[in-house]
């Protein structure tokens, strides 16, 4: 599989979405994150690594511990994506509004 590292890949997995939700309210170590899940620790580590590579989270070393935190600005990419959906629908519906209006005028 081709390696892709963007916010959309990050949110494609339910465990990664859950990790993002956890980190929304606090910074956490990998161990603390893993404790929240039933999955094996290496599995969670892999998810954390992907989120890190997608730049949705960042890590800081504090003593012997590495803490992870959310990078909110990357999340904006996803917000833009949602906006794109809306624009597509608007374009489509504008055309339909015009079509219906033209049909009505023809009848009269």
């Amino acid at each position: 599989m081709k390696l892709r590292r963007d916010p959309f890949q990050a949110i494609a997995d339910p465990t990664r979405r859950a990790i993002l939700v956890l980190l929304a309210s606090q910074t956490m170590t990998a161990g603390a994150i893993a404790n929240e899940f039933n999955a094996a620790r290496p599995t969670i580590s892999k998810h954390i690594q992907i989120l890190n590579e997608c730049e949705l989270i960042e890590s800081t070393q504090q003593g012997r511990e590495i803490y992870y935190e959310l990078k909110a600005e990357k999340m904006k990419d996803i917000d833009n994506w949602l906006e794109q959906f809306r624009n597509i629908w608007e374009s489509r519906f504008n055309q339909l509004d015009n079509l219906l209006s033209n049909l009505k005028n023809k009848e009269q």
Binding site: I78, D79, W89, S91, L96, D97, L100, L103, K104
Partner: protein, 165 residues
């Protein structure tokens, strides 16, 4: 008649789906026709700057609409809609898939399930389109091709994150 016609776009929590609601200043019959007749669909279905071209259509339960969305450069993206339920003037459902020029379904692109209902009140017809997707990956592929739209489970959580930032 209302001056502003409502357009709602909502993410359905935990159901891998979105609901699009739109009011149109026309009677139910006119709006129904615009959604179910090829010559009318071709005039609006593809978002600008794409153009829609119907290849074949049998609008009935078990029937199919085979069409292409054509880019300004002339590149064609073929799609098919399999009609799964039709209640004339009121509602219809279908499964939408990408396919090749021969109409063979794409195995890489998961489809979208649509359920559209029509409701007229005093000359204004509301269309409610309910779209159900298989996965977020499906959505991403579809939106990157520039046509389809949707949202899925889990993103309601991300929306909450966005509102915090």
């Amino acid at each position: 008649m209302k001056n502003t016609l409502a357009f709602d776009f909502t993410v359905n929590k935990e159901s891998k789906s979105i609901t699009v609601k739109k009011e149109f200043a026309a009677d139910q019959n006119a709006v129904w026709n615009a959604w179910t007749k090829a010559e009318l669909l071709d005039q609006w279905w593809a978002p600008l700057p794409y153009k829609n071209e119907t290849i074949s259509m049998q609008f009935e339960k078990g029937g199919m609409w085979f069409y292409a969305m054509v880019s300004p450069e002339g590149q064609k993206h073929y799609c098919k809609a399999y009609y799964t339920a039709v209640d004339a003037q009121n509602s219809f459902s279908y499964r939408d898939t990408f396919c090749n020029e021969k109409g063979e379904d794409s195995t890489e692109m998961p489809g979208t399930n649509w359920s559209n209902s029509f409701n007229e009140d005093n000359g204004v017809t509301t269309v409610t389109a309910h779209l159900t997707y298989a996965s977020i990956e499906a959505l991403e592929m579809i939106i990157k091709m520039g046509f389809k739209e949707g949202f899925t489970m889990g993103l309601d959580q991300l929306e909450q994150l966005l509102s915090k930032s």
